[in-house]
């Protein structure tokens, strides 16, 4: 009992009196495990996080009526979401096209759920404001080319004419995309229904996180279960997204390994030199009767404690780092994986063990008389 107490006292004292040195080693371990652990977290969460970023591209599932002359019944749209994986829909809006006259010239008027369009097409550049309400029938958004041609400004009131039926609407925003949207006018579905007197859609645009085979399955099941619809997934981006993600992940992997090696090298070299310094202490202990095993156990426990402290703090640091990356880069949280806890602990203990056993033999071989004499 007394012997144990003495053992712990020696370890505690030794750590305390060399606190500056221990601190440096601990700090190196904290940073090493922290950075590696943080990277591992990011590594696992990357694809999910990046998948959202990739959706800036816009709709990747298009639903058309089965036949060319047919239209989509609005009621069938409600059946679509259940065929996609849960919570994978970023945005969904039906679109309907009508050619109307603006100052006597034909222009395409697109009816949509404007509150959803911002999610379906996040890449639109909008001067002024989006229409955020599906029920709003007083306001419209116009394409950049239309605005330029008819000298339309924000708040201008436009008179649209659909075969004699007139409607006046205020311009809330001007849309530029470089694509077909520049030549179109956008309004809520409800406004077009009022103008034309019929209810239907020409296409449904869906922006979904589902990709690859998941997306194709969803398209197939929509086509089979919802009558009179044909679903077309856009596959062109999926391939390059996957490839890119894989590359970035491999890069992170590389970096994590290199940082791990640097940490191992510096921690072990520092530990080697701190242990070598203690030959005199070891000699003294042996001279007053300590066994080799006893001295070794003391040094090992000491190192183990440094490693434990370092890795516990390292994990905290890892958590902070992954949250930092999550918030700054992706504006969302990154899940902390419990997997990294045992691995960080094991890793740092292993580093310590290596750092101890390398110089151990030379330290243990010391002849007390020679060391203590001062040479």
């Amino acid at each position: 009992m007394k012997k144990m107490a003495m053992f712990w006292l020696i370890v505690a004292r030794s750590l305390y009196f060399r606190k500056l040195r221990s601190l440096v080693v601990i700090l190196a371990i904290v940073l090493g495990t922290g950075v590696v652990g943080g990277l591992v977290n990011v590594y696992y969460d990357m694809s999910q996080k990046m998948a959202r970023e990739f959706r800036t591209y816009g709709a990747n599932l298009l639903i058309y009526p089965a036949g060319k002359q047919e239209k989509i019944e609005l009621a069938t749209i409600d059946q679509i979401p259940s065929h996609l994986p849960k919570e994978s829909i970023v945005g969904l809006s039906p679109n309907r096209y009508e050619v109307v006259a603006l100052e006597g010239k034909p222009v395409v008027l697109v009816g949509a759920w404007m509150d959803q369009m911002i999610k379906v097409s996040p890449y639109w550049k909008v001067e002024g404001e989006w229409i955020h309400d599906r029920e709003n029938v007083e306001e419209i958004m116009v394409g950049g080319a239309v605005a330029k041609k008819y000298d339309v400004k924000i708040n201008t009131v436009l008179h649209l004419d659909d075969k004699g039926k007139q409607v006046a609407a205020k311009v809330k925003g001007i849309v530029s995309t470089g694509g077909a949207e520049d030549n179109q006018i956008f309004a809520n579905m409800k406004m077009l229904e009022g103008l034309a007197g019929t209810k239907h859609a020409d296409v449904v645009l869906i922006n979904t996180l589902a990709k690859g085979s998941e997306l194709e399955q969803a398209a197939q099941s929509i086509q089979q279960d919802v009558s009179k619809l044909s679903a077309k997934p856009l596959k062109q981006m999926v391939n390059s997204e996957e490839k890119l993600l894989e590359k970035i992940r491999r890069l992170i992997y590389f970096v994590a390994i290199t940082i791990f090696i640097t940490t191992v090298l510096t921690v072990s070299s520092t530990m080697v030199s701190t242990i070598m310094e203690r030959r005199k202490e070891v000699g003294l202990k042996k001279a007053i009767g300590a066994t080799d095993q006893g001295v070794m156990a003391e040094l090992l426990v000491e190192g183990g404690m440094i490693a434990m402290q370092g890795s516990v703090m390292g994990m905290l640091f890892a958590y902070c780092l992954s949250q930092l990356i999550g918030h700054i880069v992706f504006q969302s949280e990154i899940a902390f994986r419990a997997v990294i806890i045992p691995w960080t602990l094991l890793g740092s203990l292993l580093v310590m063990a290596v750092a101890f056993f390398l110089p151990m033999r030379r330290v243990m071989e010391v002849e007390p008389a020679i060391v203590l004499k001062g040479e």
Binding site: V24, V42, G58, V108, L234, S269
Partner: protein, 433 residues
């Protein structure tokens, strides 16, 4: 003079010890160098990967009327259609950012009728594999095969010689009409002067994963002949290497002429999609070049995110290697207590001792930094090869930075311990306390 001898001896006598320090400094420095290289080049590399998203700039003829287009189908009356000249596309390789133009392809779009199919089918004339000879004599290879890397082709691309009558068909159309590569297909095209019919050989079927799967693609010259529009194209797509938009690009997009001269020059000489489009409009008369926001915006978002991620990772790894070096130098100085005490005992001033040790640290740092930059260079090549499959450009600007960093960190690492030891009384240190 004397200092030099001491320094020299210190490195010669203690080669092994010094080598270890240099090696570890080198390792840390190499990590910093790699991260620096990767962070500097990752944007370009990611951008190149994203090229399979498709062309990012569209060139259209300038028109007086707005096109009336619904879901990809052009409704404008035929007479109002304006065209660009095919030969003008060569000018794309003469603009300021010519080297960033990775590929381009012209299109002449119309519709054709096929027997047994009720609705007209989109027919597009284009280049598949075109070898162009530029004005400076160099050659440039472009066309659909280069531009649409994600298209899966069964069979082969059409032969583009003048007498060729080969086409490729989209997979949906091919499936519904049971068309296979090698089959004949008769197309009817309405043009301003009557209807022409011609029989082609289907050389391949394409799977584009989009609306293109319902169309037919033929060599440009054939479609021009059928429509009686020789040398004309209705639009062109350009794939350009661009940088993500910033505030300046947004302002320029609204109206380039509103920029002050300096801002304008800076914008013009940066590879923004908008600036490249502006230069295209300048060189091809009667054209409107528009960056495709759907493409440029998603590219921009992704490139920015990844660059940012890499930056944070590099900072973290630089800090962790710096700390490693610091802790190492700290313990190395500690082992030399006696040497310092002895020097002081025989009359060296504190400054002289500090100067000696700091010089030593600087030399180690310098050598380690140099070696580290070399190792980092090799590692960068390895990463470039294994991760991106190409060579990452190593910018020499990294070298002075890495050298400075490693010297600074090595000196910083030895300083606190050195200060403590110098303060010690020589007698105490030498007597073994």
């Amino acid at each position: 003079m004397f200092l030099k001898i001491i320094l020299y001896k210190s490195f010669i006598r203690n080669t092994k010890e010094k080598l270890l320090v240099i090696l570890i400094v080198a390792f840390g420095a190499s990590l910093a160098a790699v991260m620096l290289n990767v962070a500097l080049d990752v944007g370009d590399k990611v951008n190149q990967e994203l090229k399979s998203y498709g062309a990012n700039i569209q060139i259209l003829p300038k028109m007086d009327t707005l096109p009336v287009e619904m879901d990809g189908v052009e409704l404008s009356p035929l007479g109002e259609q304006a065209y660009l000249k095919e030969e003008d596309l060569l000018k794309l390789k003469k603009i300021f950012w010519a080297n960033n133009i990775l590929g381009f392809s012209p299109y002449l779009e119309t519709t054709a009728r096929i027997a047994q199919v009720k609705d007209p089918v989109p027919l597009v004339g284009t280049w598949f594999n075109k070898d162009l000879t530029l004005s400076d004599g160099s050659s440039f290879h472009t066309g659909m095969a280069e531009l649409k890397t994600w298209w899966k082709l069964t069979g082969k691309w059409p032969n583009e010689s003048d007498s060729s009558l080969e086409i490729v068909v989209g997979t949906h159309l091919a499936n519904s009409q049971h068309i296979k590569p090698g089959d004949p297909l008769t197309l009817q095209v309405d043009s301003a002067n009557g209807t022409g019919a011609q029989t082609f050989t289907v050389s391949g079927v394409i799977d584009a994963g989009g609306p293109e799967d319902d169309g037919i693609y033929a060599p440009l010259a054939i479609v021009q002949n059928m429509m009686n529009l020789s040398g004309k194209i209705s639009k062109a797509e350009v794939s350009a290497l661009t940088v993500p938009e910033n505030e300046l690009a947004e302002r320029a997009a609204a109206d380039p002429s509103s920029l002050r001269e300096r801002d304008f020059d800076q914008w013009y000489c940066t590879a923004f999609a908008g600036a490249i489009s502006y230069q295209i409009e300048e060189s091809i008369l009667g054209s409107v070049a528009k960056p495709m926001r759907q493409i440029t915006q998603s590219e921009g978002v992704i490139v920015n995110k990844i660059q940012f991620l890499m930056l944070i990772i590099s900072i973290a790894s630089v800090i962790s290697s710096a700390l490693g070096i610091t802790s190492l130098m700290n313990s190395k100085v500690m082992t030399r207590i006696k040497e310092i005490a002895l020097m002081k005992a025989i009359g060296a001033t504190d400054q002289a001792v500090a100067f000696l040790f700091i010089s030593e640290a600087m030399i180690s740092g310098m050598l380690g930094g140099l070696l580290g930059y070399g190792i980092g260079y090799g590692l960068t090549l390895v990463i470039g090869k294994s991760v991106f499959g190409t060579v990452l450009t190593v910018k020499l600007i990294g070298l002075p930075f890495i050298l400075l960093l490693s010297v600074f960190i090595t000196v910083l690492g030895s300083y606190p311990a050195l200060r403590n030891i110098i303060k010690l009384e020589p007698v105490r240190a030498l007597s073994g306390r």
